[in-house]
Symmetry: C2
Subunit: 71 residues, 2 copies
């Protein structure tokens, strides 16, 4: 699976588990909601700095983020 799509699906999955909206994740991660939306839909080749911001916002460590069948 394309890594951009896998990362997007994982972010959406974790966001839903945390029961927060894209808006709330954008706010916590200090990123734009439309950016979060495009990342979740596999349309962004996200940078490590932004990925770290999102994983911090989702309260998940990077190794746990990637410890999933998607990767």
């Amino acid at each position: 699976m394309d890594i951009k799509i896998a990362v997007g699906q994982r972010i959406k999955e974790l966001r839903k588990i945390r029961d927060i909206t894209q808006e709330q994740l954008a706010y916590i991660s200090e990123l734009d909601r439309t950016y979060i939306n495009s990342v979740e839909n596999g349309r962004r080749n996200i940078s490590i700095v932004n990925l770290e911001k999102i994983t911090i916002g989702l309260k998940v460590k990077l190794d746990d983020f990637f410890d999933d069948k998607l990767f």
Copy 2:
């Protein structure tokens, strides 16, 4: 630690464990040697696509890549 620096140190650490040069890693990862050098020195906000190429080149899964005291 700045995530760019941590990622760079981890790549260098794994590359040395695998006993390959930056040149060899660049070739396997289909990236430029000078890019590998700048990533290892924390000067690049690497994208997930390029990070995946490098982890494939290092024969390490992304969760194992981030499963380190650096992160």
